[in-house]
Symmetry: D2
Subunit: 173 residues, 4 copies
Amino acid sequence: MSIRLFITGGTFDKEYDEIHGKLYFKDTHLPEMLKLGRCRADVKVRTLMMVDSLEMTEADRELILANCRRAHEERIVITHGTDTMEDTARMLGAAITNKTVVLTGAMVPYAFGSSDGLFNLGSAISLAQCLPHGVYIAMNGRFFTWNDVQKNRALGVFEARHRAESRGPDPHG
Amino acid sequence: MSIRLFITGGTFDKEYDEIHGKLYFKDTHLPEMLKLGRCRADVKVRTLMMVDSLEMTEADRELILANCRRAHEERIVITHGTDTMEDTARMLGAAITNKTVVLTGAMVPYAFGSSDGLFNLGSAISLAQCLPHGVYIAMNGRFFTWNDVQKNRALGVFEARHRAESRGPDPHG
Amino acid sequence: MSIRLFITGGTFDKEYDEIHGKLYFKDTHLPEMLKLGRCRADVKVRTLMMVDSLEMTEADRELILANCRRAHEERIVITHGTDTMEDTARMLGAAITNKTVVLTGAMVPYAFGSSDGLFNLGSAISLAQCLPHGVYIAMNGRFFTWNDVQKNRALGVFEARHRAESRGPDPHG
Amino acid sequence: MSIRLFITGGTFDKEYDEIHGKLYFKDTHLPEMLKLGRCRADVKVRTLMMVDSLEMTEADRELILANCRRAHEERIVITHGTDTMEDTARMLGAAITNKTVVLTGAMVPYAFGSSDGLFNLGSAISLAQCLPHGVYIAMNGRFFTWNDVQKNRALGVFEARHRAESRGPDPHG
C-alpha cells in the first residue's frame, strides 16, 4: 500500500539561522525523519511548499487540494503548520471523499531535538493506512475528523469542537 | 478513550552503563517519551517487567496475558523486545478477541537519541484507537495481525509471513 | 581549584515557545550541560541575568564586572550572547588583571540538540584553569585575548582583530 | 596553529548494532563532532585504529607513539578508550617532551545523544593549544599530567594519583 506524503512546511521544518538568530525554512526534514523511524511503509514524498501556515493563501490551499485529487495513492499524509491546519482540513474535507487524508504537524521544530514531530509522523502514517476515507487531523496521540476539530491557541492543543462546546454552561443545569 | 500501556522492557528501554560499558535495564523511558510526543491521549502506564525478550519465559507471557484480560481498558499497547515479539503476539492473539492490543518496540534504544522508538510509539497509540479488536504488531510504519507476521532476523525488519512465504520458489514456475 | 560560572543569557539559553513559535528565555541549561559533560571540575554557578546580548546595558556590564571583582574564585567563566561579547570582554579586560576570566557562548541554542554550546563550555572551563590572568573569549575551538578579538557578523565567527586588519589592502603592495 | 587529532577508538566511537543489539565500531564520529562544535581551530584528523582500549596491544601503543613523533604538528589530541588511557599516557609521557599531547575520551558513546564526548573534545582541543609541552589526560572538565593520573574504576572518574594516595590512612594521625 503506497502512501503519498505532501510537505507544506510548518513548525515541523523550521530551522535555526545561526547568523541572525531567527527561525526560517530551508530543506524539509521529512526524509531524515522517515529514516530515523526506520519507516518500512512505502511512502512517496513531495514538497508542495515551505510556508508558515499563518501565511498560507487560498491559492496555496487550492494547490494542496489539486495535488490530493491528482495523487494516484488512496492514502495521503500532509505535514502542515498548526496555526491554520483546521482551515485546510475543512477545505479538503468538504471536497475529498474517496481518499484518506491525514494532516499532521509539530509543536516544536524537528531540528530542536526535543520535538513531537517524530511521534506525530508515526501516528499519521499509521492512521492513513487504517482510517476510512475522509480527512483527519492527527496530533499528539489523538485524531479528529475535519469537521470536528479546532486548535486551542491558549494551550497549543487540538481538541474536538463538539466536546469543547459541550464544556460550556449547561442549559439544563 | 483510555489506553492502557504495558511495559515489558526490550530495546526500547535499554540504557548504557557508563562504568562497565554494557547495555542494561534501569527505569522505563515511556513516560518521558509520551511527554516528548506531547501525548494528549489518555494513556495509563504500568510496568509489568523489564526484560530482554530473548529471556522472556512462558510465565512472563502468562503474566502479560493475565494483565491484558484484567485491564478495564479496551485499547492496549505493549512495549516489547523485537526478538520474540511475534511469539507473544501469537499467544495473545489466540486468547484475546474482545480488545485491541498493539505490540510495539524499537530497533535502537530510546536513550541513544537516534531511536525509532518515538515513531513506533506514535504508531501504536494511534492504531490502538482505530483498529478493530484483535492483536497486532506495529513497527516502523507498518502493522501486522498476530497470525501473519515474522521478524526477518537478517534484515531486522518485520514482514507478513504470508507474503514472505510467497516470495519462495514458485511451484508452478 | 574552584571555578565560578556566571550566566548572563545569550543564545546558549534560548528556548522555543511552543505556543507562540518564538524564542525566549526561561531557565538556564548550564547545570544540565555540566551534568551531560559529567563535569568533575568544582564549578559554582550563579545566574546574573538572562538577556539577549543585543539588549545588554552598561548597567548590566557594570553588574558583571562587580561580580567578577567580588568573586572569591580566581577562575571565572561567563556565558554570554555572541553579539556583544567582544564589548563585555573589552570592558572587563581593561579592569581585571588579577583573575582569569573566559567568556563563551553558542551559535545555536542548547535546547535545539545540535548546539556547539557543550563543546564551547568544555573549552571555557578548561581554559579558565590554565590560561594566565586576563580576560579571554573562547568560541568554537579557538580563544582570543580581550583586546584582539571581533565577531565577523557575516560569517558568525570570532577572529583576531589584528589578523583581520592585516587581511585588508596592503599599503605597501 | 595546527592541531593533529589521532583517533584510536574507545567509547567515543562505539555504535549500536541494530540487528544484534550489541555495541561495535564502524566509522569515527570525530569529524561530525567537530562540525557540531563549529570548530574553527585548524584540526587535521587521522584514524590510527578503532579499538576498545582493553584490547589495545603494545604494538598499538608503539604505533601511536610513532605517529606522535612523526607528526609535523606540535599540538596533538588523541581520542582513546578510558580503560587503559592512563597506560598509553604513561608510555607517551616518558617518550615525548617536545610536543603537547592531550588524550581524551568519553564515558558514553557519542552516538547515544547524551554523551560527554563533545564537552571533552572541546576541552582537549583547547588544552592542546595552551598547555606546555608534555602529555596530559583531559576528562570531564579536569586535566592531569601523564605521571599523576589514574582511573577510579568504581566511580568511572579520573583522578590525581597523588591526591588519591594521600587520602589513605594518615601516618601522623
